[in-house]
Amino acid sequence: MYHKTLSYRIFSILNNTGLLFISLLCIIPLVHVLAISFSAKSAADANIVNLWPVDFTLEAYRKTIDNPIFLNSIWISIMRTSIGTALTLLLAFMAAYPLSRESTSFKARSYYSWIFVFAMVFNGGLVPFYMMIQNLNLMGSFWALVLPGAVNIYLTILMMNFFRGIPKELEEAAMIDGAGHFRVLFTIFLPVSKPAIATLSLFSIVFHWNSWFDGLLYTEGVHQYPLATFLQTVIISRDMSSMSLDPVSLALISQKTVSAAQIFIGALPVLIIYPFLQKFFVKGLVVGSVKE
């Protein structure tokens, strides 16, 4: 067994140490944000908070929890993410099946896949898109956040490539038993695609959770904003040179500690979901189900 050799053990120790170091490097900024969220405003404004709170206080979290718009935006984000992801995955799952056929067995697949790729690369810009949303009567509706991004071409192509890795024998066996394509897709492909579905769900969840521009343009105001849009409007540094400035407004704008708390709470759901999805990355799931 290779992992019992001395050289591999040494490698293993070095490898683990290296990975630990890199993982620490990656959480430093988040720790910094977290430290700011627990610090006093005066310390945060002076930029003297590093990785540990200065003058510990929960004030920022109290203000965050007290803000009905923030809480509402989390709810909208959860809704859009769950519905959007379900829709995206269903569409990708179905479209990827015919696309994963060999050209010899399904000629039209090449046309279709270029239709997909072309749509991924070219776009008409904001103006016609906005008109489309308006003409479909989606302006100010929740569905304006879900439907336009429902087809995720990138994920469809990934799914297609996963399908190609599924052994032909599985499908052929089912076909001999008289199953149609829909049945093959939902009874044979679905169970063995768990790792793929977990991966694509994660991508889709992150995509929906982080999208903010649509929330800004296709809603009718702050009460319809998803979380990402809300956060974007809070943390962005604004060009204030020509707005009417006064210390009262500026004090309200520059709430570094509150923004930090909101950023942290806002990132929490997607951070928690990842370890949960990891358990689907089980090795050899696909191949293991082939009876040889």
Binding site: N16, G18, I22, C26, G149, N161, Q232
Partner: protein
């Protein structure tokens, strides 16, 4: 007709996606004509004046056009390469971790930076990279290097932009390769073990080949970003000292749009970028098919 009869489930499966694509991609593509218009919001797409290639001419006739396009290409190409290489390598190393819990811990931690926006990270980077007592320069100072003005010197700026991007995204990019690894048949390893292949040999002949198709797909699709060097990042980090090495197409379009409000110009630049991307994707698609007999999509 016989074809259709046999293939109707295929068409039916694609149909829902197709409807969405037509509604939200293909019909709005009519807007591409704005690239050839002096677009005025009040007049709309049907009423604005046609000006031929003037929008494109403007993009290429600025004194700094070449510089900006070159900056974009250099930064974007390096990002594409490293954004592919770093997750690929990292997935290989992670694959050697045998303690499942530790593996999951590392996986989750490296995925975190993806969720912080460049507005936040930009501020943090300016602080830790400061040539005036920033953390990194203090460390470098201990070994007698520096101080280095990471964000104020052109070449260092590019270096910083690429490294920080890789740092932010590699953990997220690793996911897709880990998923590919989960597709490997364990019996392959068992067989190699019996043959007495070393772990390195196993990695070389079993692990890596199983990730290559995914790498080709991801890499090809990334070519679509050949002229997107990362607006948010550059916009938050660049400054007058590095305009000559750091100003990219997107930042320049952004500034122009603020001054002139021209929507036609933005569309023209977008069209130019799309055409270049499409050509590259097409070429690499053909190459992958010809040499590796692999259809990416």
């Amino acid at each position: 007709m016989r074809q259709l009869k046999r293939h109707w489930p295929f068409h039916l499966m694609i149909l829902p996606s197709l409807v969405f694509l037509i509604l939200f991609s293909y019909l709005p593509m009519a807007g591409i004509v704005m690239a050839f218009q002096d677009f005025k919001p009040r007049l709309g797409i049907t009423g604005s004046e046609w000006i031929g290639l003037d929008n494109f001419r403007y993009m290429f006739e600025r004194e700094d056009s070449l510089e900006v396009i070159w900056n974009t290409l250099v930064i974007a190409v390096l990002k594409i390469i490293f954004n592919l290489a770093a997750p690929f390598t990292f997935a290989l190393f992670l694959n050697e971790v045998r303690k499942e819990l530790f593996k999951r811990y590392v996986q989750t931690m490296v995925y975190l930076p993806h969720f912080l926006s460049w507005v936040i990270l930009g501020g943090i980077l300016i602080d830790i990279l400061s040539s005036d007592g920033g953390f990194v320069n203090r460390i470098l100072g201990m070994v007698g290097i520096g101080p280095i003005f990471f964000l104020g010197e052109g070449n260092w700026f590019r270096f910083t932009v690429i490294i920080s991007e890789v740092w932010k995204e590699f953990g997220y990019g690793t996911i897709v390769f880990l998923a590919a690894l989960s597709n490997i048949n364990p019996s392959l390893y068992e067989a190699a073990e019996v043959d007495g292949a070393s772990r390195w040999k196993q990695t070389l002949h079993i692990t890596m080949p199983s990730m290559v198709p995914m790498a080709i797909v991801v890499g090809t699709l990334a070519l679509g970003n050949i002229l997107n060097a990362g607006f948010d990042q550059i916009f938050n980090l660049y400054n007058p000292l590095v305009y000559d090495k750091g100003d990219i197409i997107d930042t320049f379009v952004y500034r122009t749009a603020i001054i002139s409000g021209e929507m036609g110009f933005g569309t023209a630049v977008g069209l130019f970028k799309s055409i270049i991307s499409m050509i590259l994707i097409f070429v690499s698609y053909r190459m992958a098919y010809k040499w590796a007999n692999y259809r990416i999509f």
